[in-house]
């Protein structure tokens, strides 16, 4: 596999902030690359530099070995995190307007069918539900039949049903041989869609690899949460646990031994919860501080 997109020592500074601090990676042709991190990690800033929307303070972005030029604009598609479309336009008109901006366009009928826009073609874009809106924005991002597609938190704010539908849609896009770069908050999303993920915090890369490998290495299978009030007063906290938001949290691969330890300590287990760790928990493991913002 060859690299379609390459980031070399990307740095972006704003007055007083070093938002991205020397990030390098390659995105292989036909793969799906995920950028993960808490708010303020520099995900969106990095993505914007990759997209050519903002200029790196230092370092460079290479598309097929060259810096972004006009051809780059013709060959990429972007779905931003928050995009307003021009008001008073129907879905069909929005698609047509964006199609007119490119010299090469995807087959409109096929695109409408794939993104499931057939029933809402004549609806005003302001009257779309969250899921419909994301499907339209994806349709617009695909309107020029791009080689490379950027998705910035594409399912944030969607209900679980719409999120799953959107994932199927992305998988369909992948089957057509597109290369994808996406940012997300959801570990589940990254695990389902991405071939390779990169986890950033405070402008640095803190982990990278395939989702499977990362989960195996860094991700305990479960977290047991117990309200602090359920812990017998005066007794020392069990080893390897931490306190967060009024809860006692213990991470581990196996649940029964953890429960045994708690029971032996005399804790009240009536309000105990067992969860699969989320991205948030992975961060606690990796960087030992809470998600910001």
């Amino acid at each position: 596999m060859t690299a379609l997109l390459e980031a070399r020592d990307l740095v972006k500074t704003y007055p007083g902030v070093r938002a991205v601090d020397g990030i390098s990676f390659q995105v292989n042709r036909g793969s799906c690359f995920g950028l993960l991190g808490p708010n303020g990690a520099g995900k969106t800033t990095t993505l914007e530099m990759l997209e050519g929307i903002s200029r790196p303070t230092a370092g460079e972005v290479l598309y097929e070995g060259r810096g972004p030029d006009r051809r780059f604009r013709e060959e990429i598609g972007i779905q931003f995190q928050s995009t307003a479309l021009q008001d008073f336009q129907t879905v069909r008109e929005s698609l047509r307007m964006f199609a007119s901006l490119y010299s090469r366009t995807a087959d409109m009928q096929e695109l409408i069918a794939m993104c499931n826009l057939g029933e809402i073609l004549d609806r005003d874009t302001r009257r779309l539900s969250g899921g419909q809106r994301q499907r339209l924005l994806l349709g617009i991002a695909l309107i020029n039949d791009p080689q490379l597609l950027f998705l910035d938190e594409p399912t944030t704010g969607l209900d679980p049903q719409s999120r799953r539908n959107f994932w199927s849609l992305i998988e369909e896009v992948r089957r057509r041989g597109k290369t994808l770069v996406l940012t997300t908050h959801y570990m589940e999303e990254a695990q389902r869609l991405c071939d390779e993920i990169l986890i950033a915090d405070q402008g640095h890369i803190i982990a990278r690899g395939t989702p499977g490998a990362l989960v195996k290495e860094q991700f305990p299978a479960s977290v047991v949460r117990l309200p602090l009030t359920a812990w017998p007063q005066g007794r020392p906290m069990p080893e390897g646990c931490q306190v967060r938001n009024g809860y006692l949290e213990i991470f581990g691969k196996e649940v029964p031994p953890m429960l045994e330890r708690l029971e032996r300590a005399g804790a009240d287990l009536s309000e105990l919860r067992v969860d699969t760790p989320k991205l948030e928990d992975l961060f606690l493991e990796l960087i030992g501080h809470d998600l910001r913002g």
Binding site: I53, E74, T83, A84, L85, Q89, M97, S100, Y102
Partner: protein, 339 residues
């Protein structure tokens, strides 16, 4: 390039005409203004009659001519014959007298007050030698509404142009429309050209509708060339659109844009002679007035509609407005930032 400009042009036009509230406001507002001012200024002045008197020195020696001793007539000295006769034609004065021998007077055939002033003149002149020679002119009275309409049209063009690009582009920047467009092959220049063309089309169409509507209800005067009037408003609209683009080039919030646009437009509204002539204003106000583009727009439009000017007479104003537009447009293209 043209295809991309056209796509943005069409989208922006749609956004405008489908926004019924905004559309209604653009058409309704100028009507409301013209009608309210026509109503407010329909009252008469206190003087019973106004008579112009031609004198070389500019002062009146009343004793020598019995008519000039008539009470309740306001006598206004006039130096030059041409402008004074025009005032008779427009019924701004009821009668013009040249007392120097052989004495003459000018009276408007269509003016009732002119007729009565003429009776008084003839009565006063009887028995004091030869009667003055009658010179008849004709012409409709120039009402305030005739005078104010070119200004109101100009003012509407100013508001619609400034806000139609200034405020709208800042909104696009804030809500991410610009960001989305930036990710396409569309260039900044193409985007700006599309915005200018769309606003020009909107502003001029709205002005034509207001003009035709006013024509039905107000029967105002239009003495000059339609082509000249169109060119004047075209150049004016272009000038204000360019000014709006400059405001829109960097700002990020609509509130700030609104403030800046108000800061630009209110002095023009007051000092550009839209509502009242700047002739009687202080020297500072007059100088300020000469620096404002709306002054030239209103002035040229008035020359066409009221004074019957053609393209050549208003060419200096058109050229000035077009030149300033070009300058502002280049500046805005240079200053423009997508984000």
């Amino acid at each position: 390039m043209l295809r991309r400009i056209l796509a943005i042009f069409i989208a922006r036009n749609r956004e405008f005409y489908r926004d019924k509230a905004g559309l209604g406001w653009n058409i309704f507002m100028p009507f409301l203004m013209v009608f309210s001012f026509a109503f407010i200024f329909s009252g008469k002045t206190d003087d019973v009659f106004k008579v112009g008197v031609l004198t070389r020195a500019g002062d009146l020696t009343r004793e020598s001519i019995p008519f000039l001793r008539t009470r309740h007539i306001r006598f206004i000295p006039a130096k030059d014959l041409g402008p004074a006769v025009t005032e008779v034609e427009r019924q701004q004065i009821d009668l013009l007298l040249d007392p120097r021998a052989p004495s003459k007077y000018w009276v408007n055939e269509h003016s009732a007050k002119g007729y009565l002033a003429e009776r008084l003149l003839l009565a006063a002149s009887t028995g004091s030698g030869a009667l003055p020679e009658r010179q008849s002119v004709s012409g409709r009275a120039l009402r305030y509404v005739d005078w104010v309409l070119p200004g109101v049209l100009g003012m509407n063009i100013m508001f619609s142009s400034l806000w139609g690009v200034g405020w709208v582009i800042v909104r696009y920047r804030k809500n991410g429309v610009l960001r989305r467009l930036r990710a396409t092959p569309l260039s900044a220049l193409e985007f700006l050209i599309a915005q200018v063309l769309s606003r020009l089309a909107v502003v001029l169409s709205a002005s034509i509708i207001v003009y035709l509507g006013a024509d039905v209800f107000l029967d105002f005067v239009m003495r000059g060339s339609y082509l000249a009037l169109f060119l004047v408003y075209l150049a004016g609209a272009l000038c204000f659109i360019s000014l709006g683009l400059i405001v829109a080039s960097r700002l990020r919030t609509e509130e700030l844009a609104d403030g800046v646009l108000n800061l630009i437009s209110w002095p023009m509204l007051l000092l550009s002679g839209v509502w009242f002539s700047m002739e009687g204003a202080g020297p500072a106000a007059q100088t300020a007035s000469k620096l404002l583009p709306l002054t030239y727009l209103v002035d040229a439009a008035r020359q066409v509609m009221v004074d019957g000017a053609g393209v050549t007479q208003v060419l200096p104003e058109i050229a000035l407005l077009a030149g300033v537009s070009l300058l502002l447009l280049s500046l805005s293209a240079w200053m423009f930032r997508w984000e």
